[in-house]
Symmetry: C2
Subunit: 139 residues, 2 copies
DNA sequence: CCAGGTTACTTGAGTGGCTCATGGATCTGT
DNA sequence: ACAGATCCATGAGCCACTCAAGTAACCTGG
């Protein structure tokens, strides 16, 4: 009944593929890469150390060094030694950075568009299904 | 009721993030990058020209040249001039390539794991929701 | 039949993301 | 005060990706 019925596997793949592509496009409207946009996003919650960013982004510390260097060069973040422990660098987002971040958020309209096609009930269903897929048990 | 209720936006993000990471890990078990694994996957359906691959993978033709070159160097694909039109190169997967591709498929167990946590009804629900999010109308 | 345009791919240069190995600076426990 | 741990930076290297040029093969009109 539901078309020649694309297998669910394929549907998931396509969904993820489209989501990724949309995020990439959104980041690019602000002249950012996806990784840079993610980093900025983390910083909107408040300042972080390099190490915290590395664990949050699941990547090497030296990778963060480069990402931050590029963002710093564009004035989107600042990097200052921590007063208490001068080994650690505290990275913060600048007003310009917040501006770009907002631009990305706005350009990333795909999730909102998709969710708008669902009723409130359907959204709850989806939320429940996603939660159930995620956790093995936790009831 | 459902925890402090993660917003649906965030749930989608986390889902996609986990999916991507799982695919990357799966590809790496076969010593492949995600892009290489995708390319191999396309070839399992039959031989393609370089151009066809480029449009399928949504990337530049010259990118495909390099991807194929690396895969060819490892004996996972072959690249031969088309008999009818010697400008086009027909890329095919080799038995070794099929082997690696199978390894990736097997290692990419996340979707199956996740779907196993859903009942048959829930899977149908999910499929319906995904389809509805995707298409603007088409009933 | 052959000149010129088009098509299909390759090459080269450049950007970025990512990793690993190494090293320097700073902190901490003894 | 010294050894070892911690935090970050640097450098080399791989890969994905893009754009601009180049080359070879095909096709079409005069």
């Amino acid at each position: 009944m539901t078309e020649p019925s694309t297998p669910l596997d394929q549907q998931l793949w396509d969904f993820v593929y489209g989501y990724d592509a949309a995020y990439d496009r959104a980041a690019q409207t602000a002249g950012l890469s996806a990784a840079q946009a993610c980093l900025l996003d983390r910083l909107t919650a408040g300042t972080s150390s390099m190490g915290e960013l590395a664990t949050a982004l699941l990547c090497d510390a030296s990778n963060v060094t480069q990402l931050v260097a590029r963002l710093e060069a564009r004035g989107l973040v600042t990097r200052e030694p921590d007063a208490a422990d001068r080994r650690v660098k505290r990275v913060s987002i600048t007003p310009a950075g917040r501006h770009e971040h907002r631009a990305v958020r706005q350009a990333f309209d795909l999730p909102a568009e998709m969710l708008d096609r669902l009723s409130a009930e359907e959204q709850q269903q989806l939320s429940r299904l996603l939660a159930k897929m995620r956790a093995p048990s936790t009831s």
